[in-house]
């Protein structure tokens, strides 16, 4: 196995251009090291952990810019992130264990492109953008069109994620990230649901609604039909039930060792219902009528 420690992004891109599909980018290593031991060694390993300028959280007008090498623990301990993007903070807080959060990077969680990646449903709901570097230039890619399948994204074998830009939710919005797992720590989510409600000015109806679903489709997904059903309406008990069922039908979960597909769909329904109830109450001060 060849090993590279590029010193700049452009050097990293040249290595990837040359070695392409047989090269593996590694940062924190919490996923890639497991693959090396239990699956197979890549032809070459490109260690970007020490690339300068790709770590840290900064304010950018109405958004937060987060470097790809920022660790999950850095997200969790960032006061501004907790204040401005609580749904992403919640995912960072529930992420694996302290040891893993100290090492794992948000860029790694994204580029892994696992449907169950903890930060991904929140990033979809926040309508964040990925800054992707390619040898022929940079591209800003919304996360809603970033993921292409399990382990696959628009980065392909030759692109590098350098930064993400996460806009602040509209004033008055409330959000929640709910994860279903057996053991609190370390468990990969069986289902993760992110919900963000923006009420109208009078706090009587749902002006905007975003629902992100993790671990229940080949990529993390939004639930557009459920969102369309809810938009512009007050949240009644009947609407809540209909929305939860619809969200379940928008998911296409697989059966694996963690749970059956049927069970996952029930959990999507339950967590969507719970998430809508919580965010509606937090955003409007009203119970579901």
């Amino acid at each position: 196995m060849d090993y590279f420690e590029p010193k700049t992004v452009s050097e990293a891109l040249s290595v990837l251009a040359k070695h392409g599909a047989e090269a593996k980018v590694i940062a924190g290593g919490t996923d890639v090291m497991v693959d090396i031991k239990f699956k197979e060694e890549p032809g070459s390993l490109v260690n970007i952990k020490k690339l300068p300028g790709l770590s840290g959280i900064s304010e950018n007008g109405g958004s937060l810019r987060i470097g790809a090498l920022t660790t999950i623990r850095d997200l969790e301990t960032s006061a501004i992130l907790r204040d401005k993007l609580p749904v992403l903070w919640e995912a960072a807080h529930q992420f694996a264990s302290l040891q893993v959060r100290n090492t794992a990077t948000i860029g790694g969680n994204i580029c892994r492109a696992s449907p169950s990646g903890e930060t991904l449903a929140p990033l979809l709901v926040l309508e964040a953008t990925a800054k992707c570097a390619f040898s022929d230039g940079e591209k800003n890619q919304p996360f809603t069109s970033f993921f292409q399948g399990p382990g696959k994204s628009v980065l392909g074998a030759k692109g590098l994620l350098t930064e993400i830009d996460v806009p602040y939710p509209a004033a008055g919005s409330k959000s929640v990230y709910l994860k279903h797992a057996v053991r609190g720590a370390m468990d990969i989510a069986m289902v993760g649901v992110a919900v963000q409600i923006t009420p109208d000015a009078g706090k009587n109806t749902i002006q905007d609604i975003r629902i992100g679903l993790g671990a229940v489709a080949p990529t993390p997904i939004r639930a557009p039909k459920t969102e369309a059903l809810l938009r512009g309406k007050p949240l009644t008990a009947a609407l809540l039930k209909e929305a939860a069922t619809l969200a379940g039908s928008e998911s296409s979960p697989i059966t694996d060792q963690r749970s059956s597909g049927e069970y996952r769909r029930w959990i999507v329904e339950a967590l969507t219902r719970r998430g809508l109830e919580q965010t509606w109450k937090a955003a409007t001060g009203k119970e579901v009528a």
Binding site: M1, D2, Y3, E5, I26, G28, G29, T30, M33, V34, I36, K37, F38, E41, L45, N47, K49, R73, A96, S97, L98, Q99, V100, N102, T103, G184, A185, M186
Partner: protein, 158 residues
């Protein structure tokens, strides 16, 4: 491909070569013959391999040995001062927080990292600090007792 690793472990400068695919745990145990950090799940889930890397507890089994370059590392071997055990080690003995002992080095390192940050940990701090460590002999209550005792002794309350 072999990589030269220059690092500092328990205050001592170390220089050695390792294959690029080597984990930091393998580097410690097999290259440096430091067997205190334990190999268990080898996937970053059980915490038996926990070490302190630049002040933070991490799983050495899923960290590249190459990332030790330029880092400061503390392992279980670095805690005792001669024959005098570290307060966390002594507290684990005094409360009976050890059964088979395989998870113990990882626990002690996680707890040391916690008590380096605060000697008045809340129940939430304690839960967070050891949530990535698994004990399969079921000694969690005594481990929590040990953490309180160590904190009290370090802070001079006991």
């Amino acid at each position: 491909m072999s990589v030269t690793i220059n690092t500092k472990i328990n205050g001592q400068s170390v220089s050695a070569n390792a294959e690029a695919s080597t984990s930091l745990l393998e580097f410690l145990r097999d290259t440096l013959e430091m067997k205190g950090s334990k190999l268990c799940c080898n996937t970053g889930e059980c915490g038996a391999c926990t070490i302190i890397y630049n002040g933070k507890p991490i799983n050495s089994c899923v960290t590249m040995a190459a990332d030790a370059n330029g880092a400061e590392i503390v392992t279980i071997e670095g805690l005792a001062n001669g024959d005098k055990l570290h307060p966390v080690q002594q507290a684990f003995i005094d409360t009976g927080a050890v059964q088979c002992g395989y998870c113990t080095p990882g626990y002690i390192i996680s707890v040391k990292a916690l008590l380096d940050r605060t000697t008045k940990p809340t129940p939430e701090d304690i839960e967070e600090a050891v949530s990535g460590n698994i004990c399969r002999c079921t000694g969690y209550n005594k481990i929590v007792d040990a953490i309180h005792l160590a904190a009290d002794r370090i802070a001079g309350r006991a």
